[in-house]
Protein backbone atom coordinates (compact mmCIF):
# COMPACT_ATOMS: atom_id res chain seq x y z
CA UNK A 1 0.00 0.00 0.00
CA UNK A 2 1.18 3.52 -0.72
CA UNK A 3 2.67 4.74 2.57
CA UNK A 4 2.41 8.44 1.74
CA UNK A 5 -1.37 8.52 1.56
CA UNK A 6 -2.86 11.03 4.01
CA UNK A 7 -3.51 9.15 7.22
CA UNK A 8 -5.60 11.78 8.95
CA UNK A 9 -8.53 12.72 6.82
CA UNK A 10 -9.85 16.18 7.60
CA UNK A 11 -13.43 14.97 7.88
CA UNK A 12 -14.82 18.46 8.41
CA UNK A 13 -13.26 19.65 5.15
CA UNK A 14 -14.62 16.86 3.01
CA UNK A 15 -17.96 17.50 1.36
CA UNK A 16 -19.87 14.27 1.68
CA UNK A 17 -22.25 13.30 -1.10
CA UNK A 18 -25.73 12.48 0.18
CA UNK A 19 -25.40 8.68 -0.32
CA UNK A 20 -22.37 8.79 2.02
CA UNK A 21 -24.41 10.65 4.62
CA UNK A 22 -27.25 8.13 4.32
CA UNK A 23 -24.75 5.31 4.79
CA UNK A 24 -23.15 6.98 7.80
CA UNK A 25 -26.54 7.63 9.37
CA UNK A 26 -27.48 4.01 8.75
CA UNK A 27 -24.62 2.95 10.99
CA UNK A 28 -25.37 5.60 13.62
CA UNK A 29 -29.07 4.74 13.66
CA UNK A 30 -28.21 1.02 13.90
CA UNK A 31 -26.07 1.69 16.97
CA UNK A 32 -28.80 3.89 18.45
CA UNK A 33 -31.36 1.11 17.95
CA UNK A 34 -29.15 -1.46 19.69
CA UNK A 35 -28.91 0.86 22.69
CA UNK A 36 -32.67 1.43 22.76
CA UNK A 37 -33.78 -2.24 22.61
CA UNK A 38 -34.69 -2.40 26.35
CA UNK A 39 -36.62 0.87 26.10
CA UNK A 40 -38.57 -0.34 23.08
CA UNK A 41 -39.39 -3.51 25.01
CA UNK A 42 -40.43 -1.40 27.98
CA UNK A 43 -42.78 0.55 25.72
CA UNK A 44 -44.26 -2.71 24.41
CA UNK A 45 -44.67 -3.95 27.99
CA UNK A 46 -46.44 -0.72 28.90
CA UNK A 47 -48.82 -1.01 25.98
CA UNK A 48 -49.69 -4.59 26.91
CA UNK A 49 -50.13 -4.22 30.66
CA UNK A 50 -53.17 -3.76 32.88
CA UNK A 51 -55.18 -0.54 32.94
CA UNK A 52 -53.42 0.85 36.06
CA UNK A 53 -49.94 0.10 34.76
CA UNK A 54 -50.94 1.46 31.39
CA UNK A 55 -51.90 4.76 33.03
CA UNK A 56 -48.49 4.95 34.70
CA UNK A 57 -46.83 4.12 31.42
CA UNK A 58 -48.84 6.81 29.65
CA UNK A 59 -47.81 9.49 32.12
CA UNK A 60 -44.19 8.33 31.68
CA UNK A 61 -44.25 8.76 27.91
CA UNK A 62 -46.30 11.94 28.34
CA UNK A 63 -43.16 13.68 29.61
CA UNK A 64 -41.97 15.93 26.75
CA UNK A 65 -38.36 14.76 27.08
CA UNK A 66 -39.36 11.10 26.96
CA UNK A 67 -41.55 11.87 23.96
CA UNK A 68 -38.69 13.63 22.21
CA UNK A 69 -36.42 10.68 22.96
CA UNK A 70 -38.99 8.28 21.54
CA UNK A 71 -39.23 10.39 18.38
CA UNK A 72 -35.44 10.26 17.96
CA UNK A 73 -35.59 6.47 18.27
CA UNK A 74 -38.50 6.42 15.83
CA UNK A 75 -36.49 8.44 13.34
CA UNK A 76 -33.56 6.05 13.85
CA UNK A 77 -35.79 3.07 13.14
CA UNK A 78 -37.37 4.65 10.07
CA UNK A 79 -34.07 5.83 8.65
CA UNK A 80 -32.39 2.49 9.34
CA UNK A 81 -35.27 0.54 7.79
CA UNK A 82 -35.44 2.75 4.68
CA UNK A 83 -31.67 2.93 4.16
CA UNK A 84 -31.43 -0.80 4.93
CA UNK A 85 -34.07 -1.57 2.30
CA UNK A 86 -32.09 0.56 -0.16
CA UNK A 87 -28.97 -1.48 0.61
CA UNK A 88 -30.89 -4.73 0.24
CA UNK A 89 -32.09 -3.61 -3.21
CA UNK A 90 -28.55 -2.64 -4.16
CA UNK A 91 -27.36 -6.07 -3.06
CA UNK A 92 -29.59 -7.55 -5.74
CA UNK A 93 -28.27 -4.92 -8.17
CA UNK A 94 -31.29 -2.65 -8.19
CA UNK A 95 -30.55 1.05 -8.48
CA UNK A 96 -26.76 0.90 -8.36
CA UNK A 97 -26.19 3.48 -11.11
CA UNK A 98 -25.28 6.95 -9.90
CA UNK A 99 -28.45 8.94 -10.76
CA UNK A 100 -30.74 6.31 -9.22
CA UNK A 101 -28.48 5.90 -6.18
CA UNK A 102 -28.55 9.67 -5.59
CA UNK A 103 -32.30 9.79 -6.02
CA UNK A 104 -32.92 6.86 -3.66
CA UNK A 105 -30.61 8.45 -1.07
CA UNK A 106 -32.77 11.60 -1.21
CA UNK A 107 -35.90 9.46 -0.93
CA UNK A 108 -34.56 7.67 2.16
CA UNK A 109 -33.82 10.98 3.90
CA UNK A 110 -37.16 12.49 2.91
CA UNK A 111 -39.37 9.51 3.72
CA UNK A 112 -37.86 8.87 7.15
CA UNK A 113 -37.89 12.56 8.14
CA UNK A 114 -41.42 13.21 6.87
CA UNK A 115 -42.82 10.08 8.51
CA UNK A 116 -41.15 11.00 11.81
CA UNK A 117 -42.62 14.51 11.69
CA UNK A 118 -46.08 13.25 10.72
CA UNK A 119 -46.17 10.59 13.44
CA UNK A 120 -44.71 13.12 15.88
CA UNK A 121 -47.42 15.64 15.13
CA UNK A 122 -50.18 13.03 15.31
CA UNK A 123 -48.89 11.55 18.57
CA UNK A 124 -48.00 14.77 20.39
Amino acid sequence: MNKTRPKHLALWQIRFPLPAIVSGLHRISGALLVLSIPFILYALEGSLSSAERFAAFKSCIGNPFVKLGLLVVLWGLLHHACAGTRFLLMDIHKGVDLPTARLSAKLVMAVSLVLTVVIGVVAW
Binding site: R27, V34, I37, P38, L41, S47, L48, A81, T85, L88
Partner: protein
Protein backbone atom coordinates in the same frame (compact mmCIF):
# COMPACT_ATOMS: atom_id res chain seq x y z
CA UNK B 1 -5.46 -16.31 3.22
CA UNK B 2 -7.37 -14.32 5.75
CA UNK B 3 -5.39 -13.10 8.71
CA UNK B 4 -7.46 -14.62 11.51
CA UNK B 5 -7.84 -12.64 14.71
CA UNK B 6 -9.79 -13.06 17.92
CA UNK B 7 -12.87 -11.18 16.83
CA UNK B 8 -15.67 -13.73 16.92
CA UNK B 9 -16.08 -13.21 13.20
CA UNK B 10 -17.02 -15.89 10.74
CA UNK B 11 -15.18 -14.37 7.78
CA UNK B 12 -17.58 -15.11 5.03
CA UNK B 13 -20.95 -15.15 3.48
CA UNK B 14 -22.83 -16.59 6.45
CA UNK B 15 -23.12 -13.48 8.60
CA UNK B 16 -23.68 -11.26 5.59
CA UNK B 17 -26.60 -13.50 4.65
CA UNK B 18 -27.88 -13.64 8.25
CA UNK B 19 -27.97 -9.87 8.33
CA UNK B 20 -30.03 -9.73 5.14
CA UNK B 21 -32.46 -12.52 6.06
CA UNK B 22 -33.07 -11.08 9.54
CA UNK B 23 -33.57 -7.63 7.98
CA UNK B 24 -36.28 -9.00 5.69
CA UNK B 25 -37.99 -10.79 8.62
CA UNK B 26 -38.10 -7.51 10.58
CA UNK B 27 -39.39 -5.62 7.55
CA UNK B 28 -42.26 -8.07 6.99
CA UNK B 29 -43.21 -8.10 10.68
CA UNK B 30 -42.92 -4.33 10.99
CA UNK B 31 -45.08 -3.65 7.95
CA UNK B 32 -47.68 -6.15 9.19
CA UNK B 33 -47.92 -4.49 12.61
CA UNK B 34 -48.00 -1.01 11.07
CA UNK B 35 -50.78 -2.13 8.71
CA UNK B 36 -52.75 -3.48 11.68
CA UNK B 37 -52.43 -0.20 13.55
CA UNK B 38 -53.37 1.85 10.50
CA UNK B 39 -56.18 -0.19 8.98
CA UNK B 40 -57.59 -2.73 11.42
CA UNK B 41 -60.03 -1.83 14.14
CA UNK B 42 -59.00 1.79 14.49
CA UNK B 43 -55.90 0.99 16.53
CA UNK B 44 -57.81 0.86 19.80
CA UNK B 45 -56.10 -0.16 23.01
CA UNK B 46 -58.36 -3.25 23.29
CA UNK B 47 -57.66 -4.40 19.72
CA UNK B 48 -53.93 -4.01 20.30
CA UNK B 49 -54.07 -6.06 23.51
CA UNK B 50 -56.31 -8.69 21.86
CA UNK B 51 -53.82 -8.99 19.01
CA UNK B 52 -50.93 -9.69 21.35
CA UNK B 53 -53.03 -12.14 23.36
CA UNK B 54 -53.02 -14.57 20.40
CA UNK B 55 -50.46 -17.34 20.72
CA UNK B 56 -49.45 -17.16 17.06
CA UNK B 57 -48.78 -13.42 17.37
CA UNK B 58 -46.63 -14.12 20.43
CA UNK B 59 -44.73 -16.78 18.51
CA UNK B 60 -44.13 -14.54 15.48
CA UNK B 61 -43.16 -11.65 17.76
CA UNK B 62 -40.63 -13.84 19.56
CA UNK B 63 -39.21 -15.10 16.26
CA UNK B 64 -38.85 -11.51 15.06
CA UNK B 65 -37.15 -10.49 18.30
CA UNK B 66 -34.67 -13.33 17.89
CA UNK B 67 -34.02 -12.13 14.33
CA UNK B 68 -33.61 -8.56 15.62
CA UNK B 69 -31.10 -9.59 18.30
CA UNK B 70 -29.12 -11.73 15.87
CA UNK B 71 -29.09 -8.83 13.37
CA UNK B 72 -28.01 -6.47 16.12
CA UNK B 73 -25.19 -8.84 17.12
CA UNK B 74 -23.79 -9.10 13.59
CA UNK B 75 -24.12 -5.33 13.07
CA UNK B 76 -22.61 -4.31 16.40
CA UNK B 77 -19.77 -6.75 15.97
CA UNK B 78 -19.03 -5.21 12.56
CA UNK B 79 -18.90 -1.78 14.15
CA UNK B 80 -16.50 -2.89 16.93
CA UNK B 81 -14.32 -4.64 14.32
CA UNK B 82 -14.06 -1.36 12.41
CA UNK B 83 -13.14 0.88 15.33
CA UNK B 84 -11.67 -1.19 18.20
CA UNK B 85 -8.21 -2.37 17.19
CA UNK B 86 -6.89 -3.65 20.50
CA UNK B 87 -7.82 -7.34 20.77
CA UNK B 88 -8.51 -7.23 24.51
CA UNK B 89 -10.67 -4.14 24.24
CA UNK B 90 -12.57 -5.58 21.30
CA UNK B 91 -13.16 -8.90 23.04
CA UNK B 92 -14.48 -7.06 26.09
CA UNK B 93 -16.82 -4.99 23.93
CA UNK B 94 -18.06 -8.14 22.20
CA UNK B 95 -18.79 -9.82 25.52
CA UNK B 96 -20.62 -6.73 26.82
CA UNK B 97 -22.66 -6.61 23.60
CA UNK B 98 -23.66 -10.26 23.96
CA UNK B 99 -24.67 -9.72 27.59
CA UNK B 100 -26.77 -6.71 26.55
CA UNK B 101 -28.53 -8.71 23.84
CA UNK B 102 -29.06 -11.85 25.97
CA UNK B 103 -30.50 -9.74 28.80
CA UNK B 104 -32.78 -8.05 26.27
CA UNK B 105 -33.95 -11.46 25.10
CA UNK B 106 -34.83 -12.60 28.62
CA UNK B 107 -36.75 -9.38 29.20
CA UNK B 108 -38.54 -9.73 25.86
CA UNK B 109 -39.80 -13.20 26.82
CA UNK B 110 -41.31 -11.74 29.97
CA UNK B 111 -42.91 -8.90 28.01
CA UNK B 112 -44.34 -11.03 25.22
CA UNK B 113 -45.39 -14.12 27.18
CA UNK B 114 -46.48 -12.32 30.33
CA UNK B 115 -45.07 -12.29 33.83
Amino acid sequence: MVNRKVVGAHYGLRDWLVQRVTAVIMLVYGIAVAAFVLFASGASFEAWQALFACTWVKVLTTVTIVALLWHAWVGTRDIWMDYAYHTGVRLTLHVLTILWLVASFVYSVKVVWGA
